[in-house]
Symmetry: C2
Subunit: 246 residues, 2 copies
């Protein structure tokens, strides 16, 4: 499993198509992930058409991978197919609620990660776009997602044309808790974050952004409270529009 | 990657401990999954203590794996650690909102699936407990999860003591959409679900539950509207209690 240990996100891809048969094979294997009651509460929209990519790009804040990758995959939480099946079979579906959204989103994310692992094991590179849940309304429009379908993860895929350094991760003790959660003291925080903060590239971020600390780069520039509150409203509105919220 | 293709959920485990060093190694590798802005918005609570397992069991509707597996892992969406870091660094965190919950939950689920793949590749068996989001309030209590921490996935882990048949999956065409979502007609539903419905074990489910169709087993017994609505309220209440909702 060195492909997981040594993985890195790939944002630059070769001008080389991914054979449809390979992509289908990887997706089919990915669908072996655990799924709630074997309901398979997800759908995947495959985008290869340049025009569709260009329509999707603004929803992803025009990150260049969307238009430069040979394939863009949008993994969706999907209770539409299952509900349609119920209606065809004299059964009354009851999945227009938040818990059903969470169940379907979980199914979709497990499959997303499974796909990423399989793709990387086959020499492909992927980039996970966190922007999917920031502008779900735009993605719903472009991909024509019906009620009870919500986009939850987007992956750009292609043959790697770069090999960036592996980003740092926090020390294991910062993430694991034995038996119960042991809340972090300031000394814990100090110990857990010191190596990250000492890295030249992270210190460089602080400098070029004119900030005093690395944390301020996150709170004041990258992931701001006002943006989070705005995007929370868009998320709630889109969940309502898609039928998962009253 | 045959370990993904041939995987099955394991619910019966040998009476054999998982070495702590192996578990830590697998978790550390799992943390290589993509994470929003490299914030690593998750924590993992490791349960080995039989008494804690017995306290967790009711939250998982007393599924026997919780008390019989050597290890139970609860993967949590965690903005607590990151927010504490911000506060220690003169930065004002703004992550007490729904979008931040979704970001952290996504991070946690990608790591969960990565861990499952690694565990299976090392000969372990896992069972994913969907019950985690049904009784999050009880899990919060037992594991003493502070504000901005929500349990999102639970995995029981151990050396397999069974080899069940692989469950069926829907045909690929039922899940994939080219370029845009093509909504399902009744003919599509017919084609996609016919093999599943024809399986003797699924027909047996219909019979023993005194139902007319397989879909009714889901809507009337396994995943009922009233239950979903009740659990949606618990979820909303717990998200509020944990600080992710106003």
């Amino acid at each position: 499993m060195d492909c997981i240990k040594n993985r890195r996100t790939i944002r630059k891809y070769k001008q080389e198509e991914i054979p449809a048969a390979l992509l289908n094979e990887l997706l089919e294997e990915a669908f072996r992930a655990s799924t709630m009651g074997n309901m398979q509460l997800y759908s995947v929209v495959i985008t290869r058409d340049q025009q569709v990519k260009e329509k999707l790009a603004p929803a992803h804040f025009n990150q260049p991978m969307v238009t430069s990758a040979p394939v863009v995959l949008t993994f969706c939480a999907d209770f539409n197919r299952f509900s349609k099946w119920c209606k065809c079979r004299k059964a009354e579906p009851g999945y227009d609620n938040p818990i059903s959204f969470i169940n379907a989103a979980s199914d979709a994310l497990l499959v997303t990660q499974n796909f990423c692992t399989l793709a990387e094991a086959h020499g492909l590179g992927i980039c996970y776009l966190g922007t999917t849940v920031y502008n779900p309304d735009k993605i719903v429009d472009v991909l024509q997602l019906p009620e009870l379908v919500m986009p939850i993860a987007t992956i750009t895929v292609g043959y790697p044309d770069e090999c960036p350094a592996q980003p740092e991760r926090l020390p294991l003790e910062g993430i694991l808790h034995e038996e119960v959660y042991h809340d972090y003291t300031s000394e814990d925080i100090e110990r857990i974050y010191s190596a990250k903060e000492a890295m030249p590239e992270n210190q460089h971020f602080v400098t070029i952004n004119n900030k005093e600390t690395l944390a301020q780069v996150f709170t004041d520039i990258r992931y701001k409270k006002a943006d989070n509150e705005y995007m929370s409203e868009v998320l709630k509105k889109t969940l309502k529009q898609q039928g998962f919220r009253k």
